[in-house]
């Protein structure tokens, strides 16, 4: 019984729990409650993933209305994978947030904070679960709206959180509206909103409406996933949001947008359109530009959160690169990159959050001599930093390795060797900014005497779990790789015999 409802449970659970959460008193109760909900969602997502892997895509007709009349939830391996990722990230960041936000938001907002967190989480999961194009828009906006408020709650520490949230709101809304225009055009052309249905009806159609729809959807999602140069909202939003929010957003929000992009590229449109090549060329070009420029900017930032925010923009470039190959290997590599980068960034931002908690700042000077002051946190930062760079035996290495191998396999407008050299040269920039941080932490003496607050276990344990995960995914990667490759195959081949790479 429960099993049949699996595709919808991880969405419904937090959505229903959020208002309940709002009613709880402003102490540690809402956080605990939200943690339990997120944990349950994570368990359900994992069960769904196991189910999808063995039994194929799971369908769920909302309210018993079958497709295409009703809204259908359809979860394939890629969806289940991203869903599990989002849910497990929520399951570690929410417990972390309980103590972390005590310092960072106004106390009277505590229950609202966790309610928003749950809604944001529900929205992200919804985007992944749904098989209905308009539903994607609704869930994107559910998660975005709650994200704006979450970012703005960082205003207790720094009022710039408000302007960051406002910019995010304006750009995010423009992105969403573009997306919705695209959906409207698509609906005009096909008369349906079910993704598979749209795909079926798009076959053989290549006219201006379809192209315009693609352009609008592409641009809208590109804004949401912070594709260079549409990333302007991201650095400030990540920098000034409360640490736990940054950890959660960095590991999920852009990743879900990438997932939505994959869905629209491959499930909805598919390969029969000539303009897809143009889109892939765009991905390649903008991905490479983003990798380089954003990494370069990151090297010269003084704020550690800002450094890693720009690094996020750069890392999205790597994922887009994988997608641009448009091969199962490339998309599989991009999916592995999504998972590994999510885990790595969560570890980094959690560790930064620990420094914010204990020392009270996230600019570079606060990190001086951290290896002596907070050895565990510094260790987590170093491990996660190495994973970001892509040192062997960490998650980052696997993702970069797969990406490079996929580059060799694919036929590309640029030489594979050039691409490989480009990837490693941007990796060097990553060495630059991670190295700067490591230098400050290990080789410089702390400035001044600040009282260092002891890091509570509730923050340390999630941080260490995620850090350990970055190493685990680098050492025992085969499971994830197989999963991602199966997911990519499923994504590229819609089963209708028409889309897909084959």
């Amino acid at each position: 019984m429960l099993l049949n409802d699996l595709p919808v449970l991880p969405v419904i659970l937090p959505l229903v729990a959020a208002p309940i959460c709002l009613l709880l008193p402003n102490n540690r109760l809402p956080g605990t409650f939200a943690s339990v909900i997120a944990g349950l969602s994570a368990v359900f997502s994992a069960m769904l993933l196991a189910d999808v892997v063995t039994n194929g895509p799971a369908n769920y007709d909302l309210g018993g209305w079958a497709a295409p009349l009703g809204i259908v939830y359809r979860v394939d391996i890629a969806g289940a994978l991203v869903m599990t990722l989002v849910a497990s990230m929520a399951a570690v960041t929410i417990p972390y947030a309980i103590r972390s936000v005590e310092m960072e938001i106004v106390k009277s907002q505590t229950s609202a904070f966790f309610a928003m967190f749950l809604i944001c989480f529900a929205g992200l999961i919804g985007v992944v679960a749904t098989g209905d194009a308009f539903n994607v828009f609704v869930f994107l906006e559910i998660s975005s709206l709650s994200t704006y408020t979450l970012v703005a709650m960082g205003a207790k520490r720094d009022r710039r959180a408000l302007t960051a949230a406002f910019t995010y709101l304006v750009l995010g809304t423009i992105g969403a509206t573009f997306f919705v225009i695209g959906l409207g055009l698509l609906y005009q052309a096909t008369g349906t909103l079910n993704m598979l249905d749209i795909h079926e009806r798009l076959l053989g159609q290549d006219n201006r409406v379809v192209r315009a729809a693609f352009a609008f959807i592409f641009t809208g999602l590109a804004l949401k996933l912070a594709m260079f140069p549409l990333h302007q909202w991201l650095p400030n939003a990540y920098t000034f949001a409360p640490s736990s929010v940054t950890a959660f957003l960095a590991s999920t929000a852009t990743k879900v947008a990438i997932y939505a992009m994959l869905r629209f590229l491959f499930t909805v449109y598919g390969f029969q359109f000539g303009f897809m090549d143009v889109a892939f060329a765009f991905f390649l070009l903008l991905g490479m530009l983003g990798m380089f420029v954003a990494s370069l900017i990151a090297v010269f930032r003084e704020d550690v959160k800002m450094i890693f925010a720009y690094s996020s923009v750069a890392q999205i470039g790597y994922m887009l690169l994988g997608i641009s190959f448009a091969t199962p290997e490339g998309v599989g590599a991009a999916l592995v990159y999504v998972v590994n980068h999510a885990v790595t960034k969560a570890a980094l931002f959690m560790a930064i959050g620990a420094v914010v908690y204990s020392i009270g700042g996230h600019r570079l000077p606060a990190f001086r001599g951290l290896a002596k002051r907070m050895p565990v946190t510094a260790g987590a930062l170093i491990v996660a930093g190495l994973a970001l760079v892509g040192v062997p035996m960490t998650a980052g290495f696997i993702s970069k390795w797969l990406l490079i191998q996929a580059a060799f396999e694919a036929t590309l407008p640029v030489s594979s060797l050039f691409l490989v050299l480009f990837i490693v040269s941007t990796t060097l920039l990553a060495v630059g900014y991670v190295g700067r941080l490591v230098w400050e932490m290990t080789l410089r003496d702390p400035e001044g005497q600040v009282e260092i607050k002891r890091l509570p276990l509730a923050m340390m344990v999630p941080m260490l779990i995620v850090t350990a995960l970055t190493v685990y995914l680098g050492v025992n990667a085969e499971g994830l790789i197989n999963l991602a490759e199966a997911a990519a195959r499923q994504l590229l081949d819609t089963g209708l015999g028409t889309g897909g790479a084959f």
Binding site: M393, I404, Q405, L417, G435, I481
Partner: protein, 496 residues
């Protein structure tokens, strides 16, 4: 002794050699408060590691090939250790000289009251693990992993003084080493994997089966590997080496003789034997190019060395020159070239270590680092300078010091390959060696002491002299047992 070296199996010794320094690391960091216990654990770690690597050395000599796979990330992509004679030799040199160096650094660090000594010893312990990891690596990926670890772990050592000068030197050090390794070596590893589907080290090479030796890929790969392994200081990737001179002397000794540069040339030798294969290399234009770049490095670095007044800087450029001998041997890719290059790894390690420890002894005793200030110094500290002369003679290649053999082999190897120009290069370089290495000794013994030189200068303390003399005597012993070493390395060239 023999029984001691057969106490554990070679496989167990391999695991032991890699783990012991890490266990030592825990002790060193835990004993931050009591320097005596900390230094004792450093020495104990060094001794045990040496025992393990000696066990491996003996076992490999008897034909064993211990292997150990830590884990497999992807099919064909694993962290694996597998020991062959060259690696066993490098491992023995590294762990043996690490022990000597530890004794020396304890004296040096205490004598000069350096700060942050715990961090210093911790970095040393990680560095030796990395060096052993490189020596025993079973594939390119493992090699790359430990190569990077070595760079990172020696960085705090180079920048130890943490003033502006140390920071600048450290930046160049890590910039060049990291830049070349990630920018060139890593793509080389990736391309190799893509071309062959494996990164394993196999004697005779893995490339030849997949691509023609004359193809552009071979040339590209060889250049990527040769310049990517910047620790070998092949020009123009050498500037990190003189810049690393800002480090305390034991670090310089360690960098220049034991771990870092030797890891580089060992890597080049290993990659040419085990990834390309000597036979593949022999016929390629690419190896000719690298061969001549190495020859040019030998001469240019020697010429620069002659202009340096700072003794450590002079030794650094001498190192750049001497390392290119090994690259040269690897690129000759014939029997004598490979033997010459491999034995040079051992001979140069002992010789250069002696020289650096003497330079450190002079600095500790007289606080002098410029050659022009060393007039008559040898008269008050003769033992230091005699050790220096022994080391210098070994580097120059005078019998009965170890350095004479590799040069002899390399000269024969060049003739074998028909490259008479190289023979000339080697002879000219030896002459230049005499000029720049003997000058300080000549100054020390022959010149009258400068007028304002105080009388308080005395012979260097024992902790400096004993290690220096140990390695100096080592060069003589190695000269006598060179035949055994050549026989030991025979499997490398058996097919040629």
């Amino acid at each position: 002794m023999g029984a001691l070296l057969h106490m554990v199996s070679a496989d167990a010794a391999l695991a032991g050699a890699l783990i012991t320094p890490l266990i030592g690391l825990v002790f060193i960091s835990a004993l931050d408060r009591s320097p005596d216990a900390r230094e004792a654990s450093t020495l104990a770690t060094g001794l045990i590691t040496l025992l393990f690597s000696a066990t491996i050395f003996v076992a490999v000599g008897e034909g064993a090939r211990p292997t150990l796979t830590l884990f497999e990330m992807l099919p064909g992509l694993s962290v694996t250790f597998s020991v062959e004679p060259l690696g066993a030799l490098f491992g023995l040199i590294a762990s043996g000289l690490w022990l000597v160096n530890s004794v020396y650094s304890i004296g040096y660090m205490r004598g000069n009251n350096e700060k942050a000594q715990t961090r210093f010893y911790m970095s040393f312990a990680i560095a030796i693990t990395a060096a052993l990891g490189i020596a025993y690596s079973g594939n390119l990926l493992t090699f790359f992993l430990f190569y990077e670890t070595l760079t990172i772990s020696t960085f705090p050592l180079v920048a130890h003084k943490r003033d502006e000068k140390a920071r600048a030197g450290g930046r160049i050090y890590i910039g060049i080493l990291m830049g070349t390794s990630i920018g060139l070596l890593l793509p080389a590893v990736i391309c190799t994997y893509w071309l062959t589907g494996t990164t394993d080290f196999v004697l005779g090479g893995i490339i030849a089966e997949h691509i023609r030796p004359t193809s552009a890929w071979t040339a590209i790969l060889l250049c990527l590997f040769a310049f990517g392994t910047a620790k070998a200081a092949l020009m123009p990737t050498h500037p990190w080496l003189p810049n690393a001179m800002v480090a305390p002397t034991p670090v310089s000794a360690f960098l220049h003789a034991v771990a870092v540069v030797k890891a580089g040339v060992f890597g080049i030798m290993k990659i040419s034997l085990y990834t390309f294969g000597a036979e593949t290399l022999q016929g390629t234009i690419a190896s000719d190019i690298i061969l001549y770049i190495a020859a040019a490095s030998i001469l240019i670095a020697s010429a620069i060395a002659m202009t340096q007044d700072n003794l450590k800087a002079r030794l650094a450029y001498s190192t750049v020159s001497q390392l290119s001998y090994i690259t040269l041997g690897a690129m000759l890719a014939n029997r004598l070239g490979i033997i010459g290059g491999s034995t040079q790894i051992a001979a140069h390690a002992l010789g250069k270590m002696t020289l650096f420890m003497c330079a450190g002894a002079i600095y500790t005793a007289a606080h002098k680092s410029l050659i022009s200030e060393m007039r008559g110094l040898a008269r008050v500290m003769p033992y230091t300078f005699i050790a220096y002369i022994i080391g210098a003679c070994s580097i120059i290649g005078l019998p009965p010091m170890a350095g004479s053999w590799p040069k002899f082999f390399l000269m024969l190897g060049s003739v074998d390959r028909g490259e008479l120009i190289l023979l000339g290069v080697l002879i000219v370089s030896s002459l230049m060696n005499i000029v720049y290495l003997m000058a300080p000794a000549v100054r020390g013994f022959m010149d009258p002491p400068s007028a304002h030189q105080g009388t308080e200068i005395a012979e260097a303390p024992a902790f400096c002299l004993v290690p220096a003399w140990t390695t100096a005597i080592g060069t003589v012993i190695l000269f006598l047992f060179m035949g055994d070493l050549v026989r030991y390395l025979e499997p490398l060239v058996a097919s040629l």
